[in-house]
């Protein structure tokens, strides 16, 4: 059901904290995973003491890690208790993929998704040190209008081209799009939770309605769709130009940051973190005789292409890899451009539906029947 939490003088953040406290106090959840303010930034933290929620700030526009990984750590195969998790839409999509990869579970998990107007690069955000009540107001007012927020620093590229900013398949959906959050904090809550909290049906009006939410969301998606198309087509043009994808990854130092930050790359022992590609000294000299020269930081393109093969079917375009790259390679845009094609080939949308099988572990006997039969 739709309900509205009134926003009083203390502002929308206080209203949101108040609601989260009720979830803990009224035992809807035993523990809550939520971003807590922490040294000018936020860190996802597990909270059982509701007084700690005075530090909760899910509205600060930064995503230091894709929190789906934290949910994986907290649930594994079975959540130890009733757990609430406050996530952005891309974190929810990543979590859905991790569930399918058997790295997390949604049983006993209350998913709380907040409309995401976008996030900034962590380093730029910390350097600018300019986040205050006014910038929050500007950020929320843009979400209300369904336009890009004019905040400094600019949003991450992944966010500028995010076409799925509203959370899907959640138990509690907190609306920012199309909502006048100076007066109301609207949310769509699953009936059983609403009943326990004695929430009342929202009186829809000027401050928020299902329709205003739909219109603002659609408008923002429209804006971002255009950015996405232009970003991905410029990436594709580069991959098909001289130098190609090898050139785009030429500054890769194989630090594995993209893999470490990627919520989908869950393998405890990645092949690329083993000695598999540490060759005998002779190997390099032989290769050099063949090629004339050998880059002594090898297998960078192999690493990237292999990662594409292993995870692009599940890529949710969160851009954590781009944010983690020390060489400013647009890893996320490259992977998004590839993932779009791979997912289209299997008619699959990553993070959309827990019931949909992962493309590479399922099959149908009567598909691509021409493959392998060529004469």
């Amino acid at each position: 059901m739709n309900t509205i939490i009134p926003v009083e003088n203390h502002g929308v953040l206080a209203a949101l904290r108040g609601f989260l406290k009720r979830l803990l106090d009224e035992k809807i959840v035993e523990a809550l995973l939520v971003p807590l303010t922490h040294g000018g930034s936020v860190s996802p933290a597990l909270v059982t003491n509701s007084a700690m929620l005075d530090e909760a700030d899910p509205l600060m526009p930064i995503m230091p890690i894709n929190t789906a990984r934290a949910v994986s750590a907290l649930t594994g195969k079975k959540a130890p208790t009733k757990l609430g998790v406050v996530l952005r839409s891309c974190e929810i999509r990543a979590l859905v993929e991790l569930v399918k990869l058997q790295q997390a579970t949604l049983d006993d998990v209350t998913l709380i998704g907040i409309d995401c107007a976008g996030t900034c690069e962590l380093d730029e955000f910390l350097t600018s040190n300019s986040w205050n009540n006014e910038s929050l107001a500007a950020y929320l007012s843009a979400a209300h209008d369904g336009i890009e927020p004019e905040i400094k620093p600019a949003l991450r590229v992944a966010c500028q081209m995010c076409v799925r900013p509203a959370p899907e398949n959640v138990d509690i959906h907190i609306h920012l799009f199309g909502a006048d959050t100076t007066v109301v904090l609207p949310m769509t809550v699953k009936d059983e939770i609403a009943e326990k909290l004695h929430l009342t049906e929202a009186v829809q009006g000027e401050a928020w309605s299902v329709e205003s939410s739909r219109v603002a969301t659609a408008q923002l998606i429209g804006i971002r769709q255009k950015v996405r198309e232009s970003e991905l087509s410029s990436i594709r043009a580069k991959m098909n130009s001289n130098g190609g994808v090898a050139g785009m990854f030429s500054s890769c130092v194989r630090c594995h940051n993209c893999m470490t930050a990627c919520p989908i790359c869950y393998c405890k022992t990645c092949l690329f973190k083993t000695a598999a590609f540490d060759h005998e000294p002779d190997y390099y000299l032989n290769a050099t005789h063949r090629k004339g020269a050998t880059r002594m930081l090898g297998d960078t393109l192999l690493f990237q292409l292999t990662r594409m093969n292993h995870m692009s079917a599940s890529c949710v375009s969160c851009g954590a890899c781009t944010s983690a790259c020390p060489a400013n390679i647009p890893v996320g845009s490259i992977f998004s451009a590839v993932a779009e094609k791979v997912q289209a080939a299997f008619e699959y949308e990553a993070g959309h539906d827990v019931a949909e099988a992962l493309p590479l572990i399922t099959f149908h006997p009567n598909e691509w029947t021409e493959v392998g039969e060529e004469k």
Binding site: R236, M239, N240, S241, G244, V245, A246, S250, L271, A287, R290, K291, G292, A293, T294, R295, G298, D299, T300, L301, L302, L305, T306, M308, N309, H310, S312, A313, I334, A337, V338, K341, V342, A345, F346, P359, L360, I361, T362, F363, H364, P365, E367, W368, T369, V371, G372, E373, E374
Partner: protein, 141 residues
């Protein structure tokens, strides 16, 4: 290209079908070009994309994956998964602007020694037409 160009092919063959098929080609004394180096796998479904990509990026001119015909997999469904992985891999190579035509997947049963010999002959001819892999001299991949 120059006349001296001989394509180098790395083949990953499934133990139960294609490898045995290749063996049959040999014991039947069928002629096919000696351009292929065979790696025996227990199943084509065990061929991780990294095994295919490593030789390609190191300068092999072609990679062949050989498996049982769909429905005949010794492990029931391995080759169906191979097929999906192969579709994904070619999609990835295509969308990154790399040549996806150097990777071949062929279903060749244990009794199809003739088909194995023909496949290698055909692949060598096709790779000769394509010319040496640009990765042969790419020093910084």
């Amino acid at each position: 290209m120059t006349d001296s160009y001989e394509p180098r092919i790395i083949a990953f063959l499934c133990n139960w079908c294609t490898y045995t098929g290749a063996d049959l080609a040999g014991t039947s004394r069928l002629q096919y070009p000696p351009n292929v180096r065979v790696v025996r796998m227990m199943c084509s479904g065990a061929v991780d994309p990294v095994y295919v990509l490593k030789p390609l990026l190191d300068g092999a001119d072609g990679v062949l994956i050989g498996g049982c015909h769909p429905g005949d997999c010794h492990y029931q469904t391995g080759n169906y998964k191979t097929r999906r992985r192969y579709v994904a891999m070619r999609e990835i190579l295509k969308s990154t602007g790399l040549d996806d035509t150097r990777i071949w997947l062929r279903w060749i049963s244990a009794s199809e020694g003739q088909r194995f010999a023909e496949t290698i002959t055909e692949m060598v001819a096709s790779l000769k037409e394509l010319g040496p892999s640009p990765m042969r001299v790419a020093w910084a991949v």
